[in-house]
Symmetry: C2
């Protein structure tokens, strides 16, 4: 059951698709406090309670004892104590012995979450705006305990809408790098994969494909004929996926700027002039996506590239990230001058560096511009966390208008609750660290709770230099995530798999992924169409097993499986906890794997560097298709089945054309276990 409570004067909701009446009485469970415009909700916690949710955030899946802030941030350092990343996902499940419930704060401003940090016996959630809707969700009558968390997520999805449906090719392997400029890179990368039979379905273009980082333009020198190269690559099963940034270069004569400026589509300062801040193209203006006309205008721009054969985009810098504003720069220089002229005290160098570093993503700037929301003029910081969501919504709507029946790939860096209807997200600027490989795994179920079924992190790590062993293990995790993209930053070690001596080990893991795609796609579609989760914490499925609840380096995948990737260097295997009997499949290639029937409990599973495991629940099975180098090669015909005691299980395999919306031909093919392959 979903109950709504309004506080102050809530901003128009982007997240909710259900228009529930706001109740007058006080919400259940929570103590409400008001102080200086802020509204806080507090709740006593017991040591056995688990707190799931908040989507994109560092730390454990069970957020208990941690501290967070909802404030969409261009944060390149996902350190353990960071409180904010790129998205604000104000949904929290309070899973406790009695009266478990979930809450959602539909608040586009800053929200502080103390989930037992100051006092482990108490959680405190604070809205700085004080204007928002609170939704309290309680489980449907009679839901068994092991279904409660999933049911709370399902109801949240009923409130916020069905998840985005990507085209099936989006489950293919995608190669990306900041630095790919155009045709030469696209052709070389595609060829390098095809020559080595490394599966590939897409290549991402980062900012360098544009003409001076101007949205919807092309770097004439590097990419004179996008349509041509996109067509040639597509004929080989490779899609080109360009990036679009939120900021529009301020430059008279650049049509996008001229239109936006003349039509008044950009965010304004108090004096009514366009707000300007520097991002990649230099001084830029920022479309006011809160305006229907501006949103429509920007969304239609994507057509410029779609008309050249582009079927997918990624939206970046849409927190929005701001390198500096002219005003911020003046302030920093003034402070620096003052320090310079005055006596340098012992810490003046810290003040100096802080002043200069402070020009980036500064609160002063976020308070410097305004949005038109209907009749209201709203200062940006009050609704900051919606900006990226609205940009991606504009893009999604634009593509729907352009090709109403066609699915497109779209994923964004910044997001808000409800963004899951418009596209997927990637986990932002991670590093080539083993700890970020583990973070990638932990964030999957948390993002699924928000409805972001199509998601993944930069495989291999964006920043820092990867080493071969880390990349191998990361590919082995990416093989299970819907968004499976190898991406790295300009200036870091080249990270395409074929750059490494053991590229064949990585290729084989990618080939296994392709063999699993028919099943993985089916499970993903089931999660989407049933408002369910593809990835779940073990605690969702085994709530009364304290060991299962404590395990955070394994996650449930689909209705049949559990994954437990190797997350450390130099190890011959890892400990895996089986909450129930499962069949271990130890993959080396789609053809070369062994299986082992393992009973519930702790087991040390040996895994050589070229091996990675999939655990299949006893009594179920999955199918393994003949692999291919492009998703279009894949067919269920003659697929092997992998399972244990699964003679009575019917695998409901979802099949459709993978490209149209609503998928009129979407249907379930009931699959039964093959006798022979069982004793593989």
């Amino acid at each position: 059951m979903i109950r709504r409570y309004d506080y102050g004067n809530p901003y128009p909701s982007f997240a909710a698709v259900l228009d529930l009446p706001a109740l007058k009485e006080a919400p259940p469970f929570l103590e409400t406090e008001t102080e200086g415009g802020e509204i806080s909700f507090t709740l006593s916690l017991h040591n056995v309670d688990a707190l799931y949710g908040l989507g994109e955030a560092v730390g454990p899946i069970d957020r208990r004892g941690r501290r967070y802030q909802s404030w969409n941030s261009d944060e390149f350092n996902h350190a353990e104590d960071r409180q904010s990343l790129y998205g604000s996902h104000n949904f929290l499940i309070v899973f406790r012995a009695s009266e478990p419930f979930a809450l959602f704060l539909d608040d586009p401003g800053r929200v502080r979450w103390d989930l037992g940090f100051e006092d482990r016996g108490r959680m405190r959630i604070t809205s700085e705006n004080g204007d928002f809707s609170l939704y309290v969700i309680t489980p449907e009558e009679g839901t068994p305990r092991k279904g409660i968390c999933a049911d709370l997520c399902r109801q949240f999805r009923v409130l916020t809408g069905r998840s985005y449906i990507p085209p099936r090719w989006a489950l293919g392997y995608i190669q990306s790098r900041w630095g790919y400029a155009g045709e030469e890179d696209l052709t070389a990368v595609a060829r390098a994969h095809r020559e080595r039979h490394i599966p590939l379905d897409g290549i991402c273009l980062d900012i360098d494909y544009m003409d001076g980082f101007r949205d919807f333009t092309l770097n004439e020198k590097a990419l004179p004929d996008l349509k041509g190269v996109a067509g040639r690559l597509l004929s080989d099963g490779v899609r080109v996926i360009p990036i679009i940034d939120a900021g529009v270069k301020k430059e008279t004569g650049y049509s996008v700027y001229d239109e936006g400026h003349e039509e008044g589509y950009f965010c304004k300062k108090a004096d009514g002039s366009d707000f300007e801040a520097a991002v990649w193209p230099g001084l830029s203006c920022f479309p006011d996506f809160f305006r229907e006309d501006a949103s429509r205008w920007f969304g239609d721009k994507y057509r410029v590239l779609m008309d050249m054969g582009v079927e997918g985009f990624w939206n970046d810098m849409n927190e929005p990230a701001l390198f500096y504003s002219p005003e911020g720069l003046d302030k920093a220089f003034a402070e620096a001058e003052e320090l310079r002229s005055g006596m340098m005290s012992h810490d003046s160098s810290f003040i100096l560096t802080a002043a200069v570093d402070g020009i980036k993503n500064s609160m002063d700037d976020y308070r410097r511009f305004y949005h038109r929301i209907g009749e209201r003029t709203v200062r940006h910081d009050k609704v900051h966390n919606l900006y990226g969501a609205l940009m991606t919504h504009a893009a999604a709507e634009g593509m729907r208008r352009a090709e109403p029946d066609r699915r497109h790939l779209l994923f964004s860096r910044s997001s808000f609750a409800g963004s899951h209807r418009d596209g997927g997200i990637w986990m932002g600027d991670n590093f080539s660290w083993w700890s970020h490989l583990a973070l990638h795994l932990r964030m999957l179920p948390s993002l699924n709770m928000m409805g972001f079924i199509y998601c993944g992190a930069d495989v291999g790590g964006f920043g820092a230099d990867v080493d071969e062993e880390l990349l191998i293990r990361w590919i082995q995790l990416g093989a299970f995530t819907p968004l499976f993209r190898n991406h790295s930053a300009l200036g870091t070690r080249l990270q395409e798999v074929y750059r490494f001596p053991k590229w064949k080990t990585m290729r084989d893991a990618i080939k296994v992924r392709y063999s699993l795609i028919p099943w993985l796609y089916s499970e993903m579609m089931h999660a989407i169409l049933s408002d369910g989760l593809l990835f779940r914490p073990l605690g969702f499925d085994y709530p009364d097993d304290p060991l299962a609840r404590a395990v955070e380096d394994q996650v449930m995948l689909g209705r049949q499986c559990m994954i437990a990737p190797v997350l450390a260097p130099h190890v011959p295997g890892r400990n895996v906890y089986l909450p129930e009997d499962m069949l271990l499949v130890r993959f080396r290639t789609p053809e070369d794997y062994d299986t082992e029937e393992i009973e519930a409990g702790w087991h040390y599973v040996r895994l050589d560097e070229n091996e990675f495991p999939l655990f299949i629940r006893r009594g179920t099975f999955v199918i393994l298709a003949k692999s291919g180098e492009r998703t279009s090669d894949l067919s269920v015909e003659g697929a092997a089945t992998l399972g244990w005691d699964a003679e009575d299980y019917v695998l409901p395999l979802y099949c459709d054309d993978g490209i149209t919306f609503g998928a009129p031909d979407g249907h379930i093919v009931p699959i039964r276990m093959e006798r022979d392959t069982e004793q593989n």
Copy 2:
């Protein structure tokens, strides 16, 4: 066997105490390459080889596949990809199936270590100076494989000298915080511990106790009577441990500066004038510790505080850290001005922040000043990595001169091979992160290989805000490390154990530590006096057990034990690998614990938050004394014995007065297992 090979014109050695003749032939095992003044050594690696060593560094205990640089750095962010920390520890064990060996590069300049990062089949070690001595150490004839790594470390200690011997009280619990200013803090902290019966043997004073951060002065307002308060605290078993920084404030009238300036003790620029750079006191000069007279002069200054009853110090900022130099500041402002006047390009804000951030610890500054080494004038960057070692050597010598027969506590942030003779080290500015708790554990054996037996990290983490659960688990690890200091940074959450609701759980772990001190001290002294290791990787003791070699979240402690702390939040226990049968002791308090005889193999060990484990090898035992609140309370009388099948084991317990040097009364007390306590 130790072989020496000289290259170029080696700088006088600080590390070696053995004066071996340099051999003319080429060194064994290694390929030598010379290129542009740099000298590199390369070696093929096999996948089964392990690379141990490099002391203070992030990453795994087995350094295989990683990349490092020896360059002493004031690095506050111990991220996974950092290549340098505060010390340079150029000792590496190449543990391979045949012909295992170790090497030591006695090179005070920058050394690059590619330990299989670029190519996992090859390691490459490069000296940028090209002037150094290389030592190649091979195992003594007939050393069993399980003794080889320890033997290579022992020989390295023969080469570099016996480890520093701390007073026994230094094994007590030490409370510290950047911000403690003087008498009020000292008294309050001591009282808060005593009132709650939380054991305490020392309190560290950070920079605020000084008068304007001037070395060897006192903050008259906060600390008018150090002698008085130190005496009062000492009578209660609490020592005051002040910090000393490397930089001397440049200020006429400040006697330390005046003396150093007049005598010419400070490092000079090319024009012969004193080199100046800002650190905590503002513009400062830096004693040229390479000069015997300057070293003696600075070392004798410690007496100022010793005469007030101080028995221990910690040396900081001695990489040396440099906030900025006037020249560096001018350069940064010039660059900023240029950017300002010119068109701001899209990345000019990065250039600006880089220019300003670059004033800190800049290579330009490290090339700006010179040392007198005998008759030679040497530019700092050539011998950079020795500066901190020489500062701590000056301090150690000063204390020896002041009180030749008395042990003092001394630990330093920066160090070099050989520093282990003069004092211990702490692991620098870590964060309140779970990953840094694990890093603390991994660094212990690596530091022991360098001879740093007295060492530890800031318990609870220096930077960021700790949460209660992390602090509890960190205290449970610190309970086993010789340096057991809770330290945190100004502005972070107060971290004294009594600030937290569950302070009793932490107190009990500290009490267990005190009960273990008689045994722990004995094992520490054994490691010191036998040139051995207190902490060892499992791979040292079980080289032919691939599982033991792969385990890096457990370490061997002393001759009898293994530790395996809980390193994750919200878990009811952890997996532990037993390479042989061991007795598990699950500690809650010194009086309340249970024991379990566990056979070799993997086991999930349940550990509630108030429990922490010690694993005792079958056939040995340890003693558990009656606990106390100060190390001086402790006695072996009536100590319990904890072991399994240990009737035939004789524990050689080292006892001495714990305070004098050479410990004339040092002797071994043979202890036998008590029958009764065995079946506890």
